[in-house]
């Protein structure tokens, strides 16, 4: 195609406003897809953040449970003793979790309460300010929660009827969920059920052997990576379908916008294209013209989408940081593929219009 006058591109670029509107429309669709992609990546990171950062090599879970999403339950009696008595176990500590609804500023905020033993692992892994809770009336919340609702160190937080004092802010946000750390005893009291826990964290230099031995004694033991993978499966199972749905719709919207812009550009200059045909352009050339337009639009839309995505991500980060939007290398590749697919599909209708043009259109006078 080298050396030819890029007729399609010139025509497309001639009408700035129409081009602008079309590119913005496609850009928004691309932005949507990138944002969803980014949220998906963020979700995956956050779904495994606790299991990866707790410090444990092994997890002893309730019978039949595969990940950390179940609430508190009953572990077999003397689980902790059994675990600690293993020669290769460096340390073991129980952790109790519960979902709670915090009523803040007339809004319901879902929080994930994590109760660990003070001084032992299982609490916040990265502090922004203050410390982990030591007493049963203390709580450490994540910075997202604190920023969003103006809660700082020293303030009080109402949790399940008890007033807890905020002693620390941690870097620990979950996807659409806020972490709050208390002592194990606090959670026992809040739920008035002292004999329960959710899982036991185990630190060991030889996880394989320890896991084997503990399982033989009837305990449900999983490695850290396995637990993370299961947590991830759970999270992606929930959000996967709606996300794919939204991406699909976004692709459809983008495709139609490209098609519409290219089609309008062609129809408005049909006399010129009729001239081109009259001058001997083949059908294939005409299809090529349509493709050239849609590909140009898709490319411009891709660039616009990238810019919009960066801006959108910044905005979301600033206003709603609990939606972690992560920029990944794969996302760019996926976006380019998406743009290409959109361009190809969108070319169909404009191509047919061009193919149907009569060269005689060049000679017809105005209506």
């Amino acid at each position: 195609m080298s050396g030819r006058v890029p007729l399609a591109r010139r025509n497309l670029l001639a009408d700035r406003r129409r081009l602008g509107a079309g590119v913005v429309g496609v850009g928004l669709a691309v932005m949507l897809i990138l944002l969803l992609d980014g949220m998906w990546a963020g979700l995956q990171g956050q779904a495994t953040v606790y299991s990866q950062r707790s410090g444990a090599d092994l997890y002893v879970l309730q019978p039949g449970v595969r990940d950390l999403t179940a609430g508190a339950g009953t572990l077999p009696p003397r689980t902790l003793d059994t675990v600690r008595s293993d020669p290769d176990v460096a340390w073991a500590t129980p952790v109790r979790t519960a979902y709670v609804i915090l009523q803040l500023h007339a809004r319901k905020v879902a929080a994930y309460l994590v109760g660990s033993v003070p001084g032992e692992r299982g609490g916040p892994w990265s502090m922004a300010a203050g410390r982990a809770p030591a007493a049963d009336d203390e709580v450490t919340i994540d910075t997202v929660l604190g920023d969003r609702h103006g809660i700082g160190i020293g303030d009080r937080l109402e949790v399940m009827g008890r007033s807890l004092r905020v002693v620390g802010l941690s870097h620990s946000s979950g996807f659409m969920l806020s972490y709050a750390f208390v002592t194990h005893a606090a959670l026992d009291q809040l739920t008035a059920s002292p004999d329960k826990t959710s899982f036991v964290l185990v630190g060991t230099a030889d996880p394989g052997a320890v896991a084997g031995r503990l399982s033989a004694q009837g305990l449900n033991v999983l490695g850290r990576d396995q637990v993370s993978a299961n947590n991830l499966t759970f999270a992606t199972g929930i959000f996967g379908s709606p996300l794919r749905l939204m991406v699909g719709i976004g692709l459809a919207a983008g495709t139609m916008i490209i098609a519409l812009t290219a089609y309008t550009a062609i129809v408005e200059r049909r006399r010129e294209y009729g001239i081109v045909k009259a001058m001997g352009a083949t059908r294939r050339r005409m299809v090529g013209l349509a493709l050239a337009q849609t590909v140009t639009l898709a490319a411009l839309g891709l660039v616009a989408g990238g810019v919009l995505f960066v801006a959108g991500r910044a905005l979301i980060n600033a206003t709603r940081p609990q939606f972690a939007v992560v920029l990944t290398a794969g996302a760019a590749g996926r976006a380019v593929t998406a743009a290409l697919v959109m361009a190809l599909v969108a070319a169909v209708i404009p191509a047919r219009r061009l193919a149907a043009l009569e060269p005689a259109a060049a000679f017809r006078s105005a209506s």
């Binding site: 928004l28 399940m160 459809a252």
Partner: protein, 372 residues
């Protein structure tokens, strides 16, 4: 009947392909908004399914606990007796409550709230079973969609809380994309997960309203939270609403912006293409007002068509999604279509601004210029 030639509509649909593409583009953008809203409305329906079918008028829970979803609640064991003393109470029953996994023989799992209740009265369980019977000892009733996901039927066994239970019956309603609901007898629950009382369901004597009864029970139990069933269900629904509010806002904004781009594009192209004809109409004596009305009518028609198309597609897509993944209940309500329609109309008005300015500026004398 004073019918005028529908110039707006004729021009809009003169090119079928273009009209279809424009309507499609806007509809896709609106579909985004409708489907998302539908997912959340569906979730709200499922989340409140148990409550809506419950015979209870009032529900007692631990202080500050207003929902069942994403909550833990613990009440003192004597709470039931305390409630029964209150004037106007016909019956009071406690239920146990926890979150755990139902595990099928092949390893498939379903996160589920498990409620321990008294099958003899049945008040704490689902109003109606779709098949089978209430659970005896060692038995469990499971929600239909959950059963399908687990690949189990009535008569099969599933594991939970460290034990194995036989499915005695199935019921419908309560499975969302995140979890389901299952019921076992109180004794079975206590044996595995402790006898801690979670919620107390209260029935009112005839003639006593749920709101009034709630007030009375609350007076009797100042340390606990007492809500009428309606209030409780509203809290559950608002949980979904609040959690989804941010996502909705982001997606709605993007969707409406896309719609704006398409509508603006369409109207502007159309107006530009017809500029000469607008000049002719002005020459023939058409007022600017008339032409402005034509542009606005085109905006309105575009929007109406797109909203209708989006609504139809949404309903179809909801049915398709429900078939592929029954746990995602998508409910498209007239209210959400209306809301989206109004937003789209506003978008249409904004999109008409630039074309309107062009049309207002058209000089009828330009109809005399030679066409190129």
């Amino acid at each position: 009947m004073s019918r005028r030639v529908p110039l707006a509509r004729r021009a809009l649909f003169q090119d079928r392909r273009r009209a279809a593409l424009a309507a499609g583009g806007v509809a896709a953008a609106l579909l985004l908004v409708l489907m998302l809203q539908g997912i959340f409305d569906g979730a709200m329906g499922q989340v409140t399914a148990y409550l809506r079918s419950s015979p209870a008028d009032v529900i007692v829970s631990q202080r500050d606990v207003r929902t069942m979803h994403m909550s833990v609640s613990a009440l003192a064991p004597e709470t039931v007796a305390g409630v029964q003393q209150v004037d106007g109470v016909a019956w009071a029953e406690g239920i146990r409550y926890t979150t755990t996994f139902l595990v099928a023989a092949d390893g498939r799992q379903q996160l589920s709230y498990v409620i321990g209740y008294d099958p003899a009265t049945g008040r704490g369980g689902p109003r109606r079973l779709s098949s089978g019977r209430v659970p005896g000892r060692g038995e469990i009733i499971v929600e239909e969609i959950a059963a399908r996901r687990l690949g189990v039927r009535a008569g099969d066994s599933i594991g939970l809380l460290g034990g194995s239970y036989r499915i005695s019956g199935l019921f419908r309603g309560g499975t969302t994309i995140t979890n389901s609901v299952a019921f076992i007898g109180t004794e079975d629950f206590a044996a595995r997960a402790g006898n801690s009382l979670a919620y107390v369901l209260v029935g009112a004597k005839s003639g006593v309203g749920s709101g009034e009864l709630a007030r009375r029970v609350a007076d009797a139990l100042p340390a606990d939270t007492v809500q009428s069933k309606e209030r409780f269900a509203a809290e559950e629904a608002s949980l979904v609403k609040d959690m989804s509010a941010d996502v909705m806002r982001i997606m709605s904004t993007i969707g409406l912006l896309i719609a704006l781009a398409v509508i603006g594009l369409t109207l502007f192209s159309l107006t530009l293409a017809k500029l000469r004809e607008h000049a002719v109409v002005k020459a023939l004596g058409g007022r600017t007002r008339y032409l402005a009305a034509v542009v606005l009518a085109q905006a309105a028609w575009s929007v109406v068509l797109a909203v209708a198309l989006a609504a139809v597609l949404a309903v179809a897509m909801a049915a398709a999604v429900g078939r592929v993944n029954p746990a995602i209940a998508v409910v498209i309500t007239p209210a959400s279509v209306l809301r989206t329609g109004v937003a789209a109309l506003l978008i249409g008005a904004v999109g008409a601004v630039v074309p309107l300015r062009r049309v207002v500026a058209v000089d009828p004398a330009s109809a005399f210029r030679r066409a190129s």
